[in-house]
């Protein structure tokens, strides 16, 4: 009962905001039913990350290979879900020595753990076009809760684009080599493009 009430108030509140703004937004009944469905994550997406270092700067890069699907549920956004896999072997930083270090057993150990997976457990709408995605991230054989913030960037008839950000503590996954010179926090900055499947 309580959750139903919360959803109703969230949706109606968002709808009012949308009407006030006079712009079509994610959660208006029309839009939401428009975008509902199952999507496959496109290779044109970008999965970028940054690990800051003492004294400024840091390591910035992205993962070239990943795959995933997500489902947007129009009647109950909480029943939406996402399933994402990325391949650490595809990490790219522009510096070969950094990449081989990251792929080695010092960090990803991609030879023994070729995938990093994320499976959502709860998706909560936080504003008219944003949502918090909670889930379990598994890397190097260790699973730990992780949260991401998604905001709707663009959508068409069969495509949808989200900007997704999140922070992870790499120590949770046995990857805390180099702390405190390099921050324990990995900041993700992703552009996720979905194609209706």
């Amino acid at each position: 009962m309580e959750t139903k009430h919360a959803i109703l108030s969230a949706i109606s509140g968002a709808s009012i905001a949308a009407i006030v703004a006079l712009t079509p937004t994610f959660v208006t009944a029309d839009t939401l039913s428009d975008v509902a469905g199952r999507y496959r994550i496109q290779p044109s997406s970008r999965v970028g990350f940054t690990v800051s270092q003492v004294g400024g700067g840091g390591i910035t890069g992205d993962f070239k290979k990943f795959s995933g699907v997500f489902a947007l549920n129009s009647s109950d956004i909480k029943r939406s879900e996402i399933d994402f896999t990325l391949y650490p072997e595809s990490v790219s930083t522009g510096e070969a020595r950094v990449e081989s270090f990251l792929k080695s057993d010092a960090v990803f150990d991609s030879a023994n753990f070729p995938t990093i997976t994320f499976k959502s457990t709860q998706i909560t709408q936080t504003s008219s076009d944003t949502a918090q995605i909670s889930g379990i991230l598994t890397a190097r054989g260790k699973s730990s809760p992780a949260n991401f913030q998604a905001s709707l960037a663009d959508h068409g008839k069969n495509t949808i684009t989200f900007h997704v950000q999140g922070k992870l503590l790499r120590s949770r996954y046995g990857m805390d080599v180099g702390t405190p010179i390099y921050s324990n926090v990995v900041q993700f900055d992703m552009t996720i493009r979905g194609q209706r499947s």
């Binding site: 270092q53 510096e95 950094v98 270090f101 010092a106 960090v107 180099g178 010179i181």
Partner: protein, 193 residues
């Protein structure tokens, strides 16, 4: 006791000598090992220790030089031949230079490397980079310079150690002893302060 006299080294000079000497030997061993280990995590950590101790050597050597300039230099023992005198002083000059040049070339490696790994001395102080060119070739140049100068200075340090042992065990003079304790053993008496 703390300061040098005409006859003997003071406690401060003696401590500088042994502390810097031990770190220097440790750094040679660490530098040799760290480039040869295959475990990336261990290697990363060994490099950071090597950098931290390198800056410690540089800092201590700067203080040592200041202390040296504000103190008397004990006179050479009469047992030294003119040739030994020249050789000993030559070795000392090279070792003193090494205490600055070797850490500085190490600093240049960290500063020129495209990896741009910060130097966070003992996880306490961020050491800025030297304003020098950053490239793979610059890093390779400074790495080779650092290694050659380090091993060269290690060879001179080895001669310095062998000479001290030679004086102690064969010539049985006080050269080694006066670097072990503040008072010249053979004098026994008090020094004028």
């Amino acid at each position: 006791m703390l300061r040098n006299s005409k006859e003997s080294f003071g406690l401060i000079s003696i401590l500088f000598h042994w502390i810097i000497g031990l770190i220097f030997i440790g750094q040679i061993a660490l530098g040799y090992l760290m480039v040869r280990v295959s475990d990336f995590t261990l290697q990363f950590n060994l490099y950071q220790w090597h950098k931290s101790f390198g800056f410690l050597v540089l800092g201590l050597s700067t203080l040592r030089l200041l202390w040296k300039s504000a103190n008397l230099r004990p006179r050479d023992p009469a047992t030294l031949s003119p040739l030994e005198r020249v050789a000993a002083h030559g070795a000392h000059v090279i070792l003193y230079l090494s205490l600055f040049v070797v850490p500085l070339t190490g600093w240049a490696i960290a500063s020129s490397s495209p990896l741009r790994i910060p130097t966070f001395m003992f996880d306490l102080v961020v050491i800025p980079s030297l304003p020098i060119a950053i490239s793979d070739s610059a890093e390779a140049f400074w790495s080779a310079s650092h290694a050659w100068l380090a091993y060269l200075s290690a060879a001179v340090a080895m001669l310095h150690i062998l000479a001290a042992l030679h004086h102690h065990f064969w010539k049985r003079d006080t050269i080694l002893l006066r670097m072990l304790a503040p008072r010249a053993v053979r004098n026994g008496g008090r020094h004028a302060t």
